[in-house]
């Protein structure tokens, strides 16, 4: 426990201590300048983004609500999985909400994101409704992938998934970034992978291509300290993931502070879309749950460690404190946000549970482009196939 927490505090100084928040009354009184704590960023071959960030009250409240909804969503998924309404493999992002929320706050819907299997939060933040996510998890036809994918397979506009094979999404992301550049778009691609996936060979292949062709690719390593059950330091010769691009500049970010994430991502987008080439960001974060639903997450770390992270580093608690300190909301209002989130999720769960599974004919669709399907899906009786075609 000590080793992990001391590493974190060495890398990132404590967030949202009162001393770090300097509020400047602006004309509208709705905007504040916040100074990010000193340890929010660490650089590799580049200068850091500004530690001063200007945010509005509305934005802070929105970021807060988004993180709260995201956490409720995962809590609901956890319950549904345990009651066997969700089948398949299921990976929750509880604890890592600030990464998705902060990133989305920094970019536009024309920028692209691609991630691995811990994708529910990203799907939500990219525009997937909580209902469509829950329905997908439960394999309903109203799911965001029409119920055909399940937990690891969610996609939406400029969100390229939801990818189940560790590291496979990274070169795919390089291809997306290349296309953005080719089309002369002023957009970037955020390519997420975990500290475990950082050791896949494909990641380094993608680094090379991205640098070679100066792609607007931002490689984002979500370092939650464990690749499945193996601690980062036991799997990686260099656990300073922001330096692993070698010839690509990097930035380590306190991934438990949504504002630091936002600042880093807007800086990164600006960097890459100005033809300065790719970047590697390391979001230092923490997952409270196991790697997947079948991992209790306590055999390779102590309950005390998890509890400690929850009580000292939690992104939601951190932002709540900021909001309260700034007087942007009262304690009661904040509690109301949480109640609203719970109600929204509960309603979506109830609705999704009542939705039907996809039609059986969907089993055969989307294998090939419509009109070029195999003349016969082999393996079933001809008669049966004819029935399914009706």
């Amino acid at each position: 426990m000590l080793s992990i927490t001391s590493r974190l505090s060495r890398n990132i100084s404590v967030l949202n201590g009162r001393t770090f928040v300097r509020q400047f009354a602006s004309a509208s009184a709705e905007t504040v300048n916040i100074s990010l704590p000193e340890g929010s960023f660490k650089t590799y071959k580049c200068d850091p983004p500004s530690f001063e960030i200007e945010v509005t009250k509305d934005e802070l409240l929105r970021l807060y609500k988004e993180m709260v909804v995201m956490r409720r969503l995962e809590v609901a998924a956890d319950g549904l999985y345990k009651s066997k309404l969700i089948r398949g493999f299921c990976h929750l992002c509880t604890g890592q909400e600030a990464v998705a929320v902060g990133m989305e706050a920094a970019i536009t819907k024309d920028d692209s994101i691609i991630t691995a299997y811990r994708c529910h939060g990203f799907t939500y933040i990219r525009g997937g409704t909580v209902h469509s996510i829950l329905a997908e998890l439960m394999g309903r036809n109203t799911g965001i992938s029409r119920g055909k994918g399940g937990s690891m397979h969610m996609f939406s506009k400029n969100f390229y998934g939801g990818n189940g094979i560790v590291g496979a999404q990274v070169p795919v992301g390089a291809g997306i970034a290349f296309t953005q550049k080719y089309l002369e778009k002023k957009n970037a691609t955020f390519i997420l992978y975990g500290d475990g996936a950082a050791n896949q060979g494909q990641v380094f292949e993608a680094f090379n291509m991205a640098k070679l062709w100066d792609l607007p690719a931002i490689f984002v390593c979500e370092n939650n300290f464990f690749g499945m059950g193996t601690a980062a330091s036991r799997s990686s010769a260099n656990a300073q993931y922001y330096t692993r691009g070698q010839y690509i500049p990097g930035l380590q970010v306190n991934g438990m502070d949504v504002l630091a994430v936002k600042q880093a991502c807007s800086w990164a987008k600006n960097w890459t879309t100005n033809d300065q080439g790719p970047l590697v960001l390391e979001m230092v974060t923490y997952r409270y749950g196991g790697h997947s639903m079948s991992d209790p997450g306590t055999s390779y770390r102590t309950r005390e460690e998890i509890q400690h992270m929850r009580s000292t580093k939690d992104p939601i608690t951190g932002l709540r404190q900021r909001i309260l300190e700034l007087g942007f909301a009262t304690d009661n209002e904040v509690k109301q946000f949480e109640k609203d989130a719970r109600a929204e999720i509960d309603e979506a769960v109830a609705k999704a549970q009542n939705d039907s599974p996809p039609d059986a004919s969907e089993l055969f669709t989307d294998v090939y482009v419509r009109g070029t399907e195999l003349p016969n899906i082999r393996g079933r009786e001809r008669e049966e196939f004819a029935v399914m075609n009706q």
Partner: protein
């Protein structure tokens, strides 16, 4: 860091004074293995969705049944003890024996030091030390390549790929490096000590990436051995044979059977032959061929067909090893029955059943009474919500048996 140091010590020791060190390990851990294996808890109750496993006639639930197997006659365990184990415990037992009897053997893969996601390596790191059972980074291509390097040095490398669906990043290493090492070095090097274990096949709710059966990709590769067991006794004997076989072996373990199949497993050291099929049930009218977990479905289909069609008797053959596979046993059977049904979970087109069908057509053409039937997974990606439609279930197997009978 500690691990890195250990590993460095280990590596330097291999070169300096391997025998002394390894003998020490051998003796110390041999004792430990025996003690620990004997005190391992009995298996948890059988579970899993696969119907028919518990009632299967092929599950040896008494010591007498287990030891009756003629293949065990010359193995030295025929009169020995047995212990109730499920399939992951039998695999664990086999690896414990492999590490005890072969001082060069090591096990590595993602999270194997903690027992692996399916508990197959449970306790082995504690028993044999972290320099012999160790976690790798998440790097499938790296894992297999690393194993190939060890095996080329003459070591016994037992690699785990956490799910067969993740074996594809390592496809190049297996197909281009492992399979061809001996051939392209003119016999100077080989990677005979390499065994890659990987859980495969459906589990009821695995979805796209935790359910596939990729065996046919590898049976298309000369130089590899491909094996798939159907239960604990077989898993132990075939795995030990695979580890000791001097060719690279891919050992697919149907994950549904890890907990669902429980047998009385001989506790001693024994091997079952690779490349040899097993006739599970003799019959005269239809030959039914399968492997792995699909055999339990076929068993139920046969029971139903034999009940519905009076006088019908089907012969059921477990291939056990797919490359090489036992053409003779199947051909002899089909020459007797004149009818063949083959079934596997992987998609039909270019699946292993195609190979069986072709060989049997060549060998038994004039004896065939009906077109050979394949009952396989569909030519679609392995679905999540449609798994029950996709898998070649009992009804479809039953239909195929009826079809060849009524032709």
């Amino acid at each position: 860091m500690r691990f890195a140091l250990l590993f460095r010590d280990f590596a330097s020791n291999i070169h300096s004074k391997p025998l002394i060190r390894n003998r020490f390990i051998h003796k110390a851990f041999f004792h430990a293995t025996r003690t620990i294996l004997q005190t391992t808890e009995s298996p948890p109750p059988a579970e899993g969705f696969l119907p028919g496993v518990e009632q299967s006639k092929f599950i040896k639930s008494t010591q007498e049944e287990a030891l009756k197997n003629p293949e065990l006659a010359n193995t030295g365990v025929a009169n020995g003890e047995t212990k109730r184990m499920n399939m992951f415990q039998a695999i664990n037992d086999a690896m414990g024996i492999a590490l005890t009897t072969d001082e060069t053997a090591v096990i590595f893969g993602e999270d194997v030091a903690f027992g692996g996601v399916f508990r197959c390596t449970l306790g082995l790191a504690e028993m044999f030390g972290k320099d012999r059972v160790f976690n790798t980074p998440l790097t499938e291509q790296g894992i297999v390549g690393f194993g190939i390097g060890m095996a080329a040095m003459g070591h016994t490398a037992i690699a785990e790929i956490q799910f067969a669906d993740y074996i594809f990043p390592a496809f190049d290493q297996l197909v281009n490096e492992a399979a061809k090492y001996r051939y392209r070095s003119g016999g100077l090097f080989n990677v005979g000590g390499l065994t890659v274990r990987s859980p495969c096949s459906a589990v009821g709710h695995g979805g796209h990436y935790h359910s596939q059966s990729p065996e046919a990709y590898f049976t298309h590769t000369p130089g590899l051995i491909v094996v798939m067991p159907r239960g604990p006794i077989q898993a132990k004997g075939l795995l030990l044979a695979s580890i000791r076989n001097r060719n690279p072996v891919i050992f697919f373990e149907p994950k549904i059977l890890y907990r669902a199949a429980v047998e009385e497993v001989p506790v001693g050291d024994y091997e079952l032959p690779l490349g040899k099929a097993e006739i599970l049930k003799s019959g005269k009218d239809v030959t039914v061929v399968g492997y792995g977990s699909q055999l339990y479905t076929l068993e139920r289909a046969i029971q139903l067909a034999e009940k519905d069609i009076p006088g019908l008797s089907c012969e059921l053959i477990d291939l056990r090893s797919l490359l090489p596979w036992d053409v003779d046993t199947v051909a002899n059977s089909v020459n007797k029955t004149g009818r063949l049904v083959i079934s596997h979970e992987a998609p039909q087109t270019s699946g292993f059943a195609a190979e069986v069908a072709t060989c049997i057509m060549e060998r038994c053409f004039l004896r065939l009474e009906a077109p050979i039937q394949r009952v396989c997974g569909l030519d679609t990606p392995f679905p999540l919500v449609f798994e029950k439609f996709y898998v070649p279930d009992m009804t479809r197997c039953y239909d195929a048996i009826k079809e060849v009978v009524n032709y």
